[in-house]
Amino acid sequence: MSAASGKARRSAFLTVFLKEVKENLRDRRTLTSAFLTGPLLGPILLVLLLNVTLNRELDKAEKPLPVPVIGAQYAPNLLAALKAGGVVPGAPVADPERAVRKQDADVVLRIAADYGKAWRKGEPVQIELIYDSSQRDANTAVERVSQLIEAYARQQGAMRLVARGLSPDTAWPLHVARRDQATPQSRAVLMFAMLPYFFVITIFMGGMYLAIDLTAGERERQSLEPLFANPVPRWKILAGKLAAISTFSTASLLITLLAFAVVGRFIPAEKIGMELDLGLHFGSCVLLLMLPLVLLLGALQSMVAAFAKSYREAQTYLSLLMLVPIIPSLVLAILPIKAQAWMYAVPLLGQNLGIMQLLRGDGVSGQQIGLCLAGSLAAALLAVLATIRLYRSERLAISA
């Protein structure tokens, strides 16, 4: 029915939309999921995770490093050099292999008894580093000790050459000069690979309970049949409900962006040479890229929920659906794919690439944004059309 006659009357779309918003604002579970747990889970988790990781890295790099040494008495000069590098030589352990495997020590240094004799003769001597490379925790320690030893060896070698009247360069015809092109931002990217997924999850949680309510919920409490007895085409009812879902999930997204902006200030990223900008520019770009996903996910959720016979069943289906958006994030985290233009048009993947680029500080081009919006919007429209079709079916209205 079109809005005829001069008297004030509300359109069916607006009526459904306002009723859904009002009803769901009164539901504590929806509110918690849409405005609290959904949007804040990501930022809080990220901060905790980062702080733990960062502090551990920092600790390892600066802290005195206790290393049990076997045969310390044979090589006092080497030990002095290690001590200068922050290593604290400890008492020897009886079974170094076991100690390392049991994580009693990150690394154990073993110096052979003939060290002194060989050294004086100018013969090469072996120093053993006993460690377990599957203990990722220990890797920094191993790296530190072995670098200190190698530096000591190089220095001693150079002195021997000089003593024989040779230039130390004779022994090292090649110098490797490393020029790392990673910027502080791009180093941060490695740690933030899961950020796009957090945004998707937030949208998902924001609209989830409304989407369930849309079909499974209405059917379970037997209100869908009376609703459909009203002289309103079903697609208009669906449109009103989708609008309500989208409103809630957009609100969730805004809250999470705000939370990330606040939290971004507290992440000690600069301590490990990273730079992080989660501010206004980042937030508005993410919002733009994510908007088509709001509609797409809303329609998908409604569609999946419509197949469920009950509220509980719909919840189960939707939690499975929630795992789908993790795929692009995982793939990108594991396989370092070089982004092709067409990838931006793939929903979820495009957003993922775009957000990663924003984090790197490279910015996204107009073409990339265009592709991303067009691809996701097309997918969203398809999902909406499919949901409308489903909504039209006779069986949908009938309660169990």
Partner: protein
């Protein structure tokens, strides 16, 4: 006026409705009587266009349901078998929601709602959220929202189901009032006494077919039974699924 001609509806291999025809006139109460599973609810669902019939025609005030389903729904007030309310909305908000879906202007909406609240005696519950309503309060709210657009034709699917004696009495009086206002009232029931006491015309359905269509007196005459209950049993062929 509701006219039904030769309705058929099958679900898979089950023929739920198998050639149902009847007419419900204005200013009359027509009762659709039949045991559970006879096809009453399916017939009514086709009337308010929730389902499309496999064959046959439905006309409400001359409007064909197959041609203009929205027009038919606009002319009907429906209390379906499923009468769920929105539990986080008050009774009044539930009524307003349906009124707006019917496109009622806001000013008219308020006066219609208030009139129904008075007629159904709902003053004490109108501003309460419907969560925790008694069965009677729920039915009242559902009826109010079904009739808020002042329809000429009223369809009630087992309206007294689950109501206590007082609520049933009140509902019967309300139906008599709808009839007195000149509306066409069609309701389904599996309770014989209720149908006998209220109806001007009884349509008896069994196994998806109309087995009798007459006034209560005519039914008694035709079967030669003085007691209406015996008459029904004779018509249907068994007393299975009927309640006194």
């Amino acid at each position: 006026m509701i006219e039904v001609k030769d309705l058929h509806k099958a679900f898979g291999t089950v023929q739920a409705v198998d050639g149902v025809s009847f007419t419900a006139r204005d200013g009359e109460i027509t009762g659709l009587l039949g045991p559970n599973g006879a096809g009453k609810t399916t017939t009514l669902r086709m009337l308010y266009t929730l389902m499309a019939p496999d064959r046959g025609q439905v006309r409400v005030d001359g409007v064909d349901a197959a041609v203009d389903p929205l027009g038919v729904r606009r002319r009907l007030g429906v209390l379906p078998d499923a009468r769920g309310l929105y539990k986080r909305l008050t009774a009044g908000e539930n009524i307003d929601y349906f009124a707006r879906l019917h496109g009622l202007p806001e000013a008219l909406l308020a006066s219609r709602r208030d009139a129904l609240i008075k007629a159904l005696g709902m003053d004490d519950i109108v501003n309460r959220r419907t969560e925790g309503f008694s069965q009677g309060e729920r039915v009242k709210t559902a009826i109010a929202r079904a009739l808020v657009h002042d329809p000429r034709n009223v369809i009630l699917d087992e309206p007294t189901n689950g109501l206590d004696v007082m609520a049933t009495r009140a509902l019967r009086q309300f139906m008599a009032r709808l009839k007195a206002e000149g509306r066409c009232v069609l309701f389904s029931s599996h309770i014989m006494q209720e149908v006998a006491a209220l109806c001007d015309r009884i349509v008896v359905i069994a196994h998806g077919r109309v087995v009798a269509d007459a006034s209560p007196d005519a039914l008694r005459e035709a079967t030669g039974e003085h007691n209406l209950e015996d008459a029904f049993v004779k018509i249907i062929g068994s007393d299975e699924g009927l309640a006194a």
